[in-house]
């Protein structure tokens, strides 16, 4: 029951403390005709400072798994520890505080707030964390993703790729220890995609940020320390 499967686990990372640990993680939803298991008994660890790529076919359950790991959704069974804290022993509020402290998240479909400008969207997590110079920091991060001249634009005025970069900047802004990103380069051309990948790995290198990325992008998956494959909701050994 406590068997933790670690695909391709290099001996080096076993010594580092795990920042994410999942155990028997299962998500099941009821549809009118039958019970659908989206993620089945996933158990693994991610060591602090590692970069991990979650790969798999469309509809295999990658986004669902990522959401569970970040505590954005509650599992039907199983547990998740983030930095040693039992995520689902906390209430909704506790999980939010934990995320505020440790976690950045990039949604597959961005989820920017339509009423806020690009700058305001990036400022939001900083303001919530009570950072004093939120505006300055947010515009610096937007500059890093190449959007210095789009600060005052609303999401509907931005292209899909630009929105994605705002979403990435928002997740970066608080310099989290742990960053979940659902296809962060999915909408980007290869040049911009490379910029964003550089950004991610610079954070990983400079701040020791742990990266957990869902991606179809081979170039990106190849740069990661590890790869977790998922197929029809089952994490492959």
């Amino acid at each position: 029951m406590n068997a933790i499967r670690e695909p391709e686990s290099p001996p080096a990372s076993a010594r580092k403390p795990a920042i994410v640990r999942a155990e028997g993680l299962t998500k099941q939803v009821s549809t009118p005709d039958h019970e659908l298991v989206i993620v089945r008994e996933a158990s693994f660890e991610v060591a602090a400072g590692d970069s991990v790529a979650i790969v798999g076919a469309s509809g295999s359950g990658k986004s669902t798994l990522l959401g569970l790991l970040a505590g954005l959704d509650v599992p039907s069974a199983g547990r998740v520890w983030i930095d040693g804290e039992d995520l689902f022993a906390l209430d909704e509020d506790g999980r939010a505080r934990l995320r505020g402290r440790l976690v950045g998240f990039v949604f597959q479909s961005f989820q920017l707030l339509p009423a806020l400008t690009a700058l305001e969207n990036v400022m939001l997590p900083l303001e919530l964390a009570g950072v004093a110079d939120a505006g300055a920091r947010a515009s610096r991060v937007l500059d890093q993703v190449g959007l210095a001249d789009r600060l005052g634009h609303y999401p509907r005025q931005l292209s899909g790729g630009e929105q994605q970069r705002v979403a990435v900047a928002r997740a970066f802004a608080t310099e989290p220890k742990l960053l979940f990103a659902d296809e962060p380069t999915g909408n980007l051309d290869s040049a911009t995609g490379r910029q964003v990948i550089e950004l991610l790995f610079r954070m990983n290198r400079d701040h020791g940020t742990t990266l957990v990325l869902v991606t179809h992008d081979e170039a990106l998956a190849a740069r990661c320390d590890r790869r977790i494959a998922i197929s029809a909701g089952v994490v492959q050994g």
Binding site: A70, A96, G100, A115, R156
Partner: protein, 830 residues
């Protein structure tokens, strides 16, 4: 087209589970149900009040003639299924064991009275009871003074003309007597089977014949309009409103109160439906843009959506009307004990009003967003959340609002009341939009000084200026309607009731002669009662206004015709009484010898008399003419003697006049009246208690009815609140989920929402308080005739209701954003 209809039906079935369809359905149901309930109920209360007041007449309508009422009138009433009674009244001497006296004999058919009851007792001082009908043949009922004057105690025999009749009861109250100021002698009531035996009714004797009719109000008014053109010389038709100004004034005021209350509930309901319909339509039109991308023709999209809205509106209106009919039946059942008469069946009008208002509301607020789509490029629709306002959609909104305004005026049943209210609310809406915009901008400036979540909440307010404004306006108008209704319910009705103090005059004494004036005044002074003011009175017929001869046929208005048919009581005075107010022109100055008239404003309006017109009168065959120099406002329900027309001194003194006064007779001092009548046998005292009771009852019943209307308004108000809060709920839930993802704590989430809702609520409260104060001022002075007093409670209550109410409702409404996992919330709204 059938294809579009089928698609619309399918889409509607799928939409039925969406949040915005449910809010719209709920709003529509409450709106239509409350409009119809209140309408039905107000209709029935109006009917009941009229019917009660008709007790003062003994029937719903009376045909009066100086000769036997022509058979055609009786036959027509019978054919129309109306109840009838006949009376024949004349003065005559009656003789008893102890003497003889002049009496006013009234012979009545067994069905008399059709409305109300006489009260009788075995002796003048014994407790009285309600009589069952009228005297049986062979018996007579006599008024109290006759018992001692002629020895007419119960069981004795009195002679009326040639007939000897046994006294069966002593009359203590005759409800319809008070209408006839010129019944100068005590009453003797006999059965009309004995009339011939008296031998008193002969050609040339002064006899008044009356035919009373009663029935369903529709039938009665049909009878009236059919028979009025057939009135001959010496014949007239009267209703209770023609006979007593006090009753007319309070009935009218009661109807305005009811009208106002139901109007306010319509406005509340309208706001709720408008909000919900607009949101539903905006949601649908998103889909419409998508359909266009998929190749649907614009006309088809329009048809499919329009069909959907129409189906939804029709279903909601039908359900609402049915619910309204059921609710008013329950309501009427509960209240049945409170009304002295059975509530008449409701008319069809409220049902139509409810359904039409529902339809206009739904279509008026769903079609414009749809029209807006027409000329907008598909890509624009998909990319931009603010599409340009198109002239056709603005026109459609204006059309919807215009139709709604006229419906509201229709519902109010009073043009002036409706126009002032609709105007007031429209102004409030305009001011709310402007003030809201400025305040939202100003508040968002404040955010620099605010901390964390407050700052974010206030910033949100500005970022959503459009939606926030709609919320402020809707909530502002909603709270304003509730405040007004509270005011009407408590304040205004109480003021109306207070305007009838306990020591109000309850008796009129009439027919005092010139030479009796000092003695009558002394009589009251000797008994330690206030010396009453006596006013002179001369009977005259209005013959011409300017050069134009006045004839009933000149007036289409029924009241005007009736007024012209009758004789007026003219009075004269040197000084203006403090309880009369000049509203046009000016009162004559001391020493101004020119003959002139001052006319009561109501009758001036009815008869189209203006300051500067000359009036010609016929008084006992003599004719005189003078200019109208002022119009007066009179408080009819003060129960003081008042006159439609007052002449300046020097004009009427030469004509035979009698004097009239009103006084308050404290309970249990009936002897004051008895001795007065004994000392001055020509003087008649009229008991106003029945009329006053009627007027008091009207105000009591209206206040009770308004209470019930208030309950419906609260339901409608809650729907407004709910619709306004949910109008931005999707965004909030989504924002909440994103904020949660970014690590916002519960406190931050709650404070963010709270600051925004508090700001919206306070803005709405300010708008509502200002609007309610302004509109109460306009309504109480101009429509309800109740003096206005500024009350601090109103603005404070408005602010509190707005701020606290909206904040609490808002927090409850967005709890979902705080308590559910972010992914679930995001999935639910996108």
């Amino acid at each position: 087209m059938t294809n579009n209809f089928a698609i619309a039906l399918r889409m509607l079935r799928r939409n039925a589970h969406s949040g915005e369809a449910r809010v719209l359905a709920a709003a529509l149901l409450v709106a239509v149900a409350s409009v119809t309930t209140v309408g039905f109920f107000a209709d029935r209360v109006r009917g009941a009040l009229d019917r009660q007041a008709n007790e003062l007449l003994g029937g719903d309508l009376v045909v009066i003639a100086d000769h036997p009422v022509p058979a055609a009138f009786v036959e027509r009433a019978r054919a129309d299924g109306l109840a009838i009674a006949q009376t024949t009244t004349f003065p005559s001497m009656v003789a008893g064991a102890a003497g003889t006296s002049l009496a006013e004999i009234k012979a009545v058919s067994s069905s008399f009275p059709l409305r109300g009851r006489l009260r009788v007792a075995p002796t003048p001082v014994a407790p009285d009871r309600e009589a069952d009908g009228a005297p049986a043949p062979g018996t007579v009922w006599v008024a109290g003074p006759l018992v001692s004057r002629i020895g007419a105690a119960v069981g004795e025999t009195v002679k009326v003309g040639n007939a000897s009749l046994r006294v069966a009861e002593v009359i203590t109250r005759e409800p319809d007597n008070v209408l006839d100021f010129f019944g100068i002698a005590p009453r003797v009531l006999i059965n009309d089977a004995d009339l011939a035996a008296t031998g008193l009714v002969q050609v040339g004797s002064r006899v008044s014949y009356r035919l009373l009719v009663a029935g369903e109000s529709r039938q009665v008014s049909r009878y009236e309009s059919e028979m009025r053109p057939r009135l001959g010389r010496g014949e007239r038709i009267e209703g209770v409103r023609d006979a007593r100004s006090e009753v007319r004034v309070s009935l009218e005021r009661a109807q305005r109160f009811l009208g106002l209350a139901s109007l306010l509930s319509v406005i509340l309901a309208s706001v709720a439906v408008a909000l919900a319909a607009r949101r539903f339509s905006l949601r649908q039109t998103d889909g419409a843009a998508m359909m266009r991308c998929l190749g649907a023709a614009q006309a088809d999209i329009f048809a499919i959506n329009a069909w959907q809205f129409l189906l939804l509106a029709a279903a909601g209106c039908a359900a609402g009307t049915a619910a309204g009919f059921g609710a008013q039946a329950v309501l009427a059942h509960w209240l049945s004990g409170f009304f002295a008469v059975a509530l008449p069946a409701p008319g069809w009008r409220p049902a139509v009003q409810g359904a039409v208002i529902g339809l206009v509301l739904v279509l008026g607020f769903t079609i414009p967003p749809l029209l807006r789509l027409r000329n907008v490029p598909t890509l624009r629709v998909l990319r931009s959340d603010v599409a340009v306002a198109e002239p056709s959609s603005l026109f459609a909104y204006a059309l919807g609002l215009g139709a709604l305004s006229s419906l509201i005026v229709w519902q109010a049943g009073d043009t002036r009341l409706g126009a002032i209210s609709v105007g007031g609310f429209a102004a409030a809406l305009g001011v709310a939009a402007l003030a809201g915009f400025i305040l939202i901008r100003a508040l968002s400036r404040l955010r620099a000084g605010a901390s964390g979540p407050w700052r974010y909440g206030l910033a949100n307010l500005r970022r959503r200026t459009g939606a926030s404004l709609v919320q402020v306006m809707a909530l502002g108008v909603g709270i304003m309607a509730m405040l007004l209704l509270t005011l009407v319910r408590s304040d205004l009705i109480v003021k109306w009731q207070k305007s009838m103090p306990a020591d109000m005059p309850n008796r009129f004494a009439i027919n005092v002669q010139n030479d009796q004036l000092p003695a009558v005044k002394a009589y009251f002074a000797d008994l330690g009662l206030a010396t009453p003011d006596l006013y002179p009175m001369v009977r005259g017929r209005l013959v011409a206004i300017g050069d134009k001869t006045v004839s009933p046929a000149d007036y289409t208005d029924q009241r005007a015709r009736r007024l012209v048919e009758r004789e007026f009581n003219l009075s004269w005075a040197k000084d203006l009484r403090p309880d009369n107010k000049i509203v046009a022109g000016s009162w004559w100055k001391a020493g101004d010898a020119a003959p002139q008239f001052s006319v009561e404003e109501g009758i001036a309006k009815t008869l189209s008399i203006r300051v500067g017109d000359t009036l010609s009168w016929d008084v006992g065959g003599a004719r005189f003419t003078a200019k109208v120099t002022s119009l007066r406002k009179v408080e009819w329900d003060s129960f003081k003697a008042n006159f439609f027309v007052i002449a300046s001194p020097g004009m009427l003194e030469a004509y035979p006049a009698s004097w009239i006064t009103s006084f308050h007779l404290p309970a249990g001092r009936e002897e004051v009246v008895n001795r007065l009548v004994e000392r001055f046998p020509n003087v008649s005292v009229i008991d106003l208690t029945a009329i006053m009771g009627q007027v008091k009852r009207i105000s009591d019943q209206v206040s009770r009815a308004v209470e019930f209307v208030f309950l419906f308004a609260i339901a409608a108000g809650l729907v407004v609140l709910f619709a306004a809060i949910t109008s931005t709920q999707d965004e909030r839930v989504f924002e909440g989920a994103v904020m949660r993802t970014l690590g916002a704590s519960r406190r931050q989430m709650v404070l963010t929402q709270l600051s925004e809702f508090l700001a919206i609520g306070l803005l709405a409260g300010m708008v509502a308080a200002a609007g309610a104060v302004g509109l109460t001022f306009a309504l109480s002075e101009r429509v309800l005739g109740v003096p206005y007093e500024f009350d601090w409670v109103v603005p404070v209550a408005g602010l509190l209701a707005g701020g606290v109410g909206v904040a609490i409702a808002g927090l409850l409404g967005t709890r979902r954003a705080v308590d559910s996992p972010p992914l679930a919330a995001i999935r639910a709204v996108t």
